[in-house]
Amino acid sequence: MPTLWEYIFGALFFSFCIIGMYRAEKRGEQKMKTIPACNGIPEGIQRSVEMGRPVLFEFGSIALNLYSQYIGPALGILNEVAKESARLGAHLITISFDPPSTAIMEEIVKNNYILYGRTMEEMDNRYVAGTDRGFTVATLAILEREKPGAHFLMGTTSYDAVIVCQAAADIGAFQVAGAIQTFQLPVMSVICDYVLIGEEFAVAGSVFSNKLGQLGTIVGHDWAKAVLVGLLILGAILAQFGLKIVMS
């Protein structure tokens, strides 16, 4: 059974996102802090096109049906990568190891290729292995043989991040990585050119879409954090006098 605080935070934070959404649409504008890593994606694709090398996009060795909380935010980012690749005429390779990921990647790339008049034969969505370790080996093989100019690793929480990011750095690929969970963020931040850290990864898709409705929900993030910071300040003051906020 959910606790009292779960109901309070749940109701507050969901409604903050909803209010922020309608507010932004009514006002017709929504200011956003620039996220440096978001500029990395067009830059990487541009570089690849100039060098005549492919662009590689992957979620990492995690499956869609088990980890949509990690892959969900990456769908908006893949949409941007597909749009830029279609627009600039890059050879975009997407790789996956579970059929739902293959299907959803193909759908997103197809929608954007149609938009920019690219043919279906130019699409290169690959199912490369059956297990996470097979996927890691297959990714290594692609990096070594097809030498992509840009490598985008979005969402993974698994050990393969160390291997594929460092192997891509060894072949000189431009890398933008991102994850919403902690596990591989340190390694990504040390190796890659740009990293979308936690919440940045969560909102990047909306920033790319530039739609007011999506940007408005990000205001909900900030109001929620304001509430939490207020709670922390209140808690610190009370704690100094030995009083406690009961929160199990």
Partner: protein
């Protein structure tokens, strides 16, 4: 027609998220049971959808073989090992001796070595990336070295104060960073759910 093609799937997505979340918060037991049953069915869906992946992979290999692309002989080796393993597994069962031999003497040792590659690549990452370029880079570097000395069995013997220092770094900076990322993580999935529920974002990312 686009109503059925793209609008109804959005309704399905929105409804599933609302039902699953509300069943937890409102404690509607039959709804929760329904959600968990459907969740078990997802495993069945994945199994039925596997041909999508296998045909994608095998098709690519066959094209390589027909066009005699580089290493096409090895693509034949992959198709042979795939066929052998699948036929043995399905028609002779997972207790078949050859299946078990391949499982124990190829799948497990090679799989363990794939994970062990992290031991090599993390060292190169440490060398190439830790630079005292600026204050942030220096903080990253110093804290990493403290924890590595604290973890290395010889660390405490070489430099005894590393134990209390390492413990402090493992207790405060590590948990503080976790909390910051966790809160951002939770807010991220909440706003993503809101965008899906109110049709502001679509999983197939149409650029309309």
């Amino acid at each position: 027609m686009s109503f059925v093609r793209s609008f109804i799937p959005k309704i399905v997505l929105s409804a599933i998220i609302v039902i699953t979340i509300l069943s937890y918060f409102l404690g509607i037991v039959p709804l929760s049971n329904g959600v968990s049953i459907v969740n078990q069915y997802v495993i069945i869906m994945i199994a039925f959808s596997l041909p999508l992946g296998v045909i994608n992979l095998v098709g690519r290999n066959i094209k390589n073989i027909q066009n005699k692309r580089q290493d096409w002989l090895l693509d034949i080796a992959m198709l042979v090992s795939l066929t052998v393993m699948t036929v043995l597994g399905i028609f002779f069962g997972v207790t078949n001796t050859i299946y078990l031999w391949l499982y124990n003497n190829v799948n497990i040792p090679v799989g363990a070595m794939v994970m062990a590659l992290t031991g090599l690549y993390i060292a190169s990452a440490a060398y190439r990336s830790f630079r005292v370029r600026n204050l942030e880079g220096s903080l990253l570097l110093v804290s990493a070295i403290i924890i590595m000395l604290w973890n290395a069995p010889i660390g405490a013997a070489l430099f005894p104060p590393i134990l209390p220092i390492g413990n402090w770094f493992n207790n405060y900076p590590l948990t503080t960073g976790n909390r910051v990322i966790f809160i951002g993580f939770a807010l991220g999935v909440i706003s993503l759910c809101v965008r899906y529920i109110f049709f502001r974002e679509n999983i197939t990312g149409e650029s309309t």
